[in-house]
């Protein structure tokens, strides 16, 4: 197998056995990026030159035993809304085209402490608003399984780069499905951790009460490894929770006997593609075969979740994006008469359509006279959604749903129809509203060979349960051995 096809834990094995050096690994990825980036268009900022030097340095330090660390020299890619000191962080927006962060996000400090090598900043929907990465100001990322299809979004660059073997793993962010949905579309693994498990310090905020950083990887074990690195309380983020440090690789038991799986029928109804449904039913049968107890039940949240999500997310976004005002580090319009015009023109020209749409929506729902009808009502529904999930988790260990109603769609198919684009989030948003952890892993492909993802939702801070459930399924299905992108190496 080619180096770039290996998972991180496989790379670690080979480094340990001295079968591979850091430089060999880095160079393999650099070559791969040089070869495939023109097709996939995953990177906003490529750091391949820097990576060459970095890999040399790290190899030397390892040889001289100056550093240890099981992940030293492992390449990674970072979604371009996570702040990286001295490197552009654009959020794929014209607004931040030239923004260089003066500080590292907390997760970046952790990645750097491990001496991992950052291969670049990855494309996304502008300010993480979208489900196809078509709303990037810079480029449209392609799905490696079919270059005419979208990679999903908003972490489309991260998922596509991992699927195309241009990086072994990546960090993404998930506000309403932005890790899980592209992971599903690109046939890789994506975890949205419990709200509060990962520090948000340095993640450019879209919707503060929903945003969470998480790993996008080739398999479940790699997700557990990366989660070990990034999880934990941070003094700089008071919404991050102080809980006991865990080793998430220890929970991967390859055993789901007696596991109680709830299947909410509302997630298998109208609007869900038949082939997706079929693949999910097969997954249910596989779990039964593996010894899990599966039961259908009613989770009355899906219907309200989408509206609730778009009200809360847009309200918070309208406030969070106020700081991009043309005064300091942002795009500034070239000509203006007065302060008001400076604001108006800078923001009109600097933000894309979708971002503006959401700012307007969010401003509206917070306005006096509308607050009670929209924002306040949405917060009440949010509590109901949490209660519904609480009830469900009294009966079940995990909840199994499709990750997205369809497989990856054609580029351009939905980019002019915001409502239809919003519907792509129907299976994922309730998880963010309730602050729960959920993982998407591939469970099959459709007739055209496009990957289908399934979502396992866990109770708060029960990442171990969904990781083991996903791992056990993955070991049985062997998706990566059986399917890969039509994408010759």
């Amino acid at each position: 197998m080619h180096i770039t096809e290996l998972t991180v834990h496989e790379l670690q094995e080979k480094i340990k056995k001295k079968e591979l050096t850091i430089q060999q690994i880095t160079n393999a990825y650099i070559n791969r990026i040089e070869e495939k980036e023109k097709d996939v268009q995953a990177f906003v900022t490529s750091l391949t030159e820097e990576a060459k030097n970095e890999s040399e340095k790290i190899q030397k330090k390892l040889d001289n035993e100056e550093i240890e660390g099981k992940l030293a020299g492992i390449p990674i890619g970072i979604k371009d809304n996570i702040c990286t000191k001295g490197i552009k962080t654009t959020c794929s927006s014209k607004m931040l085209e030239d923004f260089v962060s003066p500080y590292d996000a907390t997760v970046m400090e952790k990645i750097n402490n491990e001496n991992m090598i950052n291969l670049g900043k990855l494309n996304m929907d502008e300010f993480a608003m979208g489900g196809s990465t078509e709303y990037s100001y810079f480029k449209k990322t392609k799905n490696p399984w079919n270059l005419n299809k979208v990679p999903g979004g908003s972490s489309g660059g991260s998922a596509a780069a991992v699927a195309a073997n241009m990086i072994p793993w990546a960090l993404g962010s998930d506000t309403g499905g932005s890790i899980r949905q592209p992971a599903s579309f690109c046939g890789v693994v994506g975890l949205k951790p419990t709200y509060g498990l990962i520090s948000r310090y340095g993640l450019v905020a879209f919707a503060s009460s929903l945003d969470q950083i998480g790993p996008i990887t080739k398999d479940v074990k790699d997700t557990a490894i990366l989660l070990n690195i990034i999880a934990g309380h941070d003094k700089k983020d008071t919404t991050s929770v102080e809980i006991e440090k865990k080793d998430y690789t220890k929970c991967l038991k390859n055993n789901v006997k007696g596991l109680k799986i709830g299947v909410p029928k509302e997630f298998y109804g109208e609007g869900i593609n038949e082939e997706v449904k079929k693949s999910l039913y097969e997954a249910i049968e596989r779990y039964k075969k593996l010894g899990a107890e599966v039961e259908e039940f009613s989770l009355d949240v899906a219907e309200y979740s989408l509206a609730t999500y778009y009200i809360i997310a847009c309200a918070e976004a309208s406030s969070n994006l106020g700081r991009f005002d043309g005064i300091r580090y942002t795009y500034r319009t070239s000509e203006f008469k007065d302060l008001k015009e400076l604001y108006k023109k800078s923001r009109s020209e600097g933000f894309g359509q979708e971002v503006k749409r959401r700012i307007i929506l969010g401003t509206y729902v917070l306005s006096s006279g509308y607050y009670d009808a929209y924002y306040k009502k949405a917060q009440q529904v949010r509590t109901l959604v949490m209660n519904e999930f609480d009830k469900a988790f009294k009966k079940y260990d995990v909840i199994l749903t499709p990750t997205a109603p369809t497989v990856a769609f054609d580029i351009g198919a939905k980019s002019n129809n915001p409502l239809e684009m919003y519907l792509a989030d129907i299976c994922t948003v309730s998880v963010n509203i309730a602050g729960l952890p959920a993982i998407s892993i591939p469970c099959g492909v459709d007739k055209e060979g496009m990957p289908i993802g399934m979502q396992l939702i866990g109770n708060k801070f029960c990442e171990e349960t969904i990781l083991n459930s996903a791992y056990t399924f993955e070991q049985d299905l062997k998706f990566r051995e059986n399917y890969k992108p039509e994408f010759k190496i």
């Binding site: 959020c91 923004f99 996000a105 983020d237 700081r323 924002y375």
Partner: protein, 477 residues
């Protein structure tokens, strides 16, 4: 109708900067007067991705202020975002508190001519200050200084219980003195760390509905505030008398012309789109926490005043003046400890020190000398080392260049002459030179003695012990 037919209704919103060492949501220092943008970090500059962390001292100080003004302290409170665009507000929202302030339903007492009056306090909440815009003389544009962005504030909102500019001033002074006593704010008005938004309306006496109010923002001197209120009362009554209606608007006070002006941007109705700050967790205070702060509250002006009346026999008026300022009051008590002469210290503070403060428009906090130095000055007079008229000169010197009074009089050669021999010499000399005055005195003109004493004082440059001088003149004549 005449002016007397109208009732004035005033409400005040006071913003007071808290004297915490660091800002409310980051660890930048809060010191006033640093070079622009030197006390900033990614958080208070609102760099993308940064998050606030609430400074616990800010909560503690606000709770102190609440307890000292008889407020209920909320066990459960939260922060909210107030959204608006302005270049001095880098996040485009101010983190404040909206519907769940830390403190509410309090009051303070003021002493009006008609007696004691309670002024209700609606609420006290915590929030962050904005930065400052400085005019750039070179480009003609504005430059943003974010040193003040994130400096903690409390906003203290009064009930509309105030009925005149005098009452407004009494309220503001009392509130300021309380904040100084509990040491949560230094209340330096000229630095803007104690400022008020003034709401004024008038209505016909007997009306239960409030009149339309105007709000004048960011007033930071007592004098301007009373002038502004009096002007606004006249203006509003004039409008109503002419059959017009007062418009609800935000005004700016111009100290030079002595008038209020409507601020620009009237077409924008304020809609701050308040919503709960999702980046911060709720503020939950235990009863124990609140009780601990209560226990540690220092003595407040009221109780100090009572003590001064009893322990030191001060007059009501003097006790009021001294306890109105924590700094004066501390100066008073400190000096007494040194010299054990409350009456003399009282006199110094009430007369000479207050006069100098008034003349130089200085606030008590800015008095450059300490209580020890004042106490020593009193001792020097009590011991007869200097006369009280030299004492006044020493005091002026203490304001100019504070140091040990003993050092001052040595340096200046102001030590009083109490040596009988030396003084007798001077007396003889003066008598020799003024035979006419001796005759006058003997003829019954008491004034002549005064003249002679004056001459002797002149001779000794004021250093002669006056009592002794009198005695010796009488002996020698």
């Amino acid at each position: 109708m005449s002016r007397e037919d109208y009732e004035v209704v005033i409400g005040l919103e006071v913003h007071s900067e808290l004297s915490t060492k660091t800002k409310i949501f980051c660890s930048c220092p809060t010191k006033f007067g640093a070079a622009p943008n030197t006390q900033v970090c990614p958080i208070c500059m609102a760099m993308p991705g940064t998050l606030p962390v609430l400074n616990e001292k800010v909560v503690e100080y606000a709770v102190k202020a609440g307890l000292a003004t008889n407020c209920e302290i909320s066990r459960n409170s939260k922060n909210d975002r107030k959204n608006y665009f302005y270049p001095d507000l880098p996040k485009a929202y101010q983190i404040s508190q909206y519907d769940k302030p830390l403190c509410k339903n309090g009051y303070i007492e003021i002493e009006t001519k008609e007696g004691k009056k309670k002024i209700g306090i609606t609420r006290i909440h915590i929030e962050e200050d904005a930065g400052k815009l400085n005019h750039d003389e070179f480009s003609g544009g504005s430059l943003v200084d974010l040193n003040r962005a994130g400096v903690p504030l409390i906003e203290i909102v009064s009930e509309p219980d105030i009925r005149s500019s005098e009452e407004a001033e009494l309220y503001l002074k009392k509130l300021k003195s309380i904040l100084e006593y509990i040491e949560v704010s230094d209340c330096k008005m000229q630095e803007g760390s104690y400022r008020a938004d003034v709401n004024v309306s008038v209505r016909k006496k007997g009306d239960t509905k409030l009149g339309t109010r105007t709000e004048t923002k960011n007033m930071n001197s007592f004098k301007s505030i009373t002038r502004e209120i009096d002007y606004e009362i006249e203006r509003q009554i004039d409008i109503l008398e002419d059959g017009g209606t007062v418009e609800q608007e935000t005004l700016r006070w111009d100290d030079v012309s002595g008038k209020t002006f409507a601020m620009r941007d009237k077409e924008d109705a304020d809609d701050y789109r308040y919503f709960p700050e999702p980046d911060l967790v709720a503020i939950n205070l235990s009863e124990e926490y609140i009780q601990n702060i209560k226990k540690e509250l220092p003595e407040l002006p009221e109780s100090r005043k009572e003590r001064y009346l009893k322990e030191y026999n001060l007059s009501e008026k003097d006790a009021n003046i001294i306890t109105a300022s924590k700094y004066l009051s501390d100066l008073f008590e400190g000096a007494i400890k040194v010299c054990n002469n409350p009456k003399a210290v009282n006199n110094w503070i009430i007369s000479d020190i207050s006069r100098i403060l008034n003349e130089t428009e200085t606030e008590p906090i800015e008095i450059p000398f300490d209580s020890n130095q004042l106490g020593k000055l009193v001792i020097l007079i009590d011991k007869g080392t200097i006369s009280s008229s030299i004492g006044k000169k020493v005091l002026e010197e203490l304001f100019e260049n504070p140091r040990d009074p003993e050092e001052i009089i040595k340096e200046k050669g102001w030590i009083q002459i109490s040596d009988e021999g030396a003084i007798r010499e001077v007396v003889k000399k003066v008598l020799e030179a003024n035979p006419k005055s001796i005759e006058d005195y003997k003829a019954g003109k008491e004034k002549a003695l005064g003249f002679l004493v004056g001459q002797a004082m002149k001779e000794t440059k004021g250093k002669a012990n006056p009592k002794m001088l009198n005695k010796l003149f009488l002996e020698e004549i």
